[in-house]
């Protein structure tokens, strides 16, 4: 480990605010692009499942299916 203390790691000789904000923003953006597609896919599957179950349960379901 390069830094002597936790405080030195935080301040980084006056550059801490720059370095940590850059790393924080990057981490947030990466987390967002990693999570978003999975959520979109699962939400779509849930919605489609709901629609399909409703249309199957309906009176004209056989016609709609065909």
């Amino acid at each position: 480990m390069y830094f002597d203390s936790f405080n030195a790691l935080l301040t980084m000789d006056g550059h801490g605010a720059f370095v940590w904000s850059a790393y924080l923003i990057t981490t947030l953006v990466i987390a967002a692009i990693l999570v978003a597609p999975g959520r979109r896919r699962k939400k779509f599957l849930r919605q489609l499942a709901g629609e399909l179950k409703r249309s199957r349960g309906g009176p004209n379901s056989s016609k709609e299916e065909a």
Binding site: Y2, G14, F18, S21, A22, I25, G38, L45, L48, L52
Partner: protein
């Protein structure tokens, strides 16, 4: 060989194979990113001239490199869609655009934060920075143009043309630091000749670049999977998947 291309055009096959790939690639990517971040923040020595602010290089350079590589992926996919009308290429193009935009955003914002302690300014209209900003607008332009069309086939064609025209920007980004020598420093890592970076800084940087490539691949595949389902909403394999209730 041909059967591979034939399979590549099959949404259910692509959906399941990408799921298998992601099951391995995603954890590896996350571990590599975590190791790379810890290495670059905690274990590397500061630069003798820039001090600790140079640590931003470990996210700035990988994001910029992969943002450019992502543009190739998007443009090549667009070209394949234009020439051979492959639907999967269109899915790949649309999926690459949002990941590329996010990476270009990271490169620009970390560059601005790095610029303040190093150059004394958040922003200059330097050739490298301006051409990267144009890259961001190209990515956002592809996304906006795609959403503007109701007819997705026409959207794919228009976006592919935009991608290919935007390729003009790529060599400008690469050569900008040599053609217009201003604030942005030239490349430190060279494929030919010696790199002007110490190996103790080079190895964590290379790890981060590889991690960002893996990150791009993961996000591209995940976006493609979501896109494949939405486009195939009326097909039997998607319906079966939805009714099975499995999210995998």
């Amino acid at each position: 060989m041909w059967s591979f291309f034939h399979k590549l055009g099959s949404p259910p096959w692509l959906y399941s194979i990408s799921g298998v790939i992601l099951r391995w690639l995603l954890p590896i990517t996350l571990v590599a990113l975590a190791v790379g971040l810890a290495w670059s923040l905690l274990f590397t020595a500061p630069d003798f001239r820039q001090g600790n602010s140079y640590r931003i290089i470990y996210i700035h350079v990988p994001a910029a490199v992969v943002a450019l590589a992502g543009y190739y992926v998007m443009a090549i996919a667009g070209a394949i869609n234009l020439i051979w009308k492959m639907k999967m290429a269109d899915v790949a193009m649309r999926s690459a655009a949002s990941v590329g935009a996010a990476l270009t955003f990271i490169a620009l914002i970390t560059g601005a934060i790095w610029g303040k302690p190093t150059w004394g300014t958040w922003w200059v209209w330097d050739a490298r920075i301006t051409s990267m900003l144009i890259l961001l607008f190209l990515y956002l332009g592809v996304i906006a143009l795609y959403e503007a069309f109701d007819n997705k086939e026409a959207a794919g064609k228009a976006c592919a043309v935009l991608c290919l025209v935007g390729m003009v920007n790529i060599p400008i980004i690469y050569k900008s630091v040599d053609w217009w020598y201003s604030l942005h420093q030239p490349a430190s890592i060279k494929f030919t000749g010696d790199s002007t970076i110490d190996t103790s800084m080079l190895y964590p940087l290379l790890l981060m670049i590889v991690s960002f490539y893996a990150l791009f691949t993961c996000c591209l595949l995940m976006n493609m999977r979501a896109e494949l389902l939405q486009r195939g909403a009326r097909t039997s394999w998607v319906k079966k998947l939805a009714l099975a209730g499995k999210s995998v």
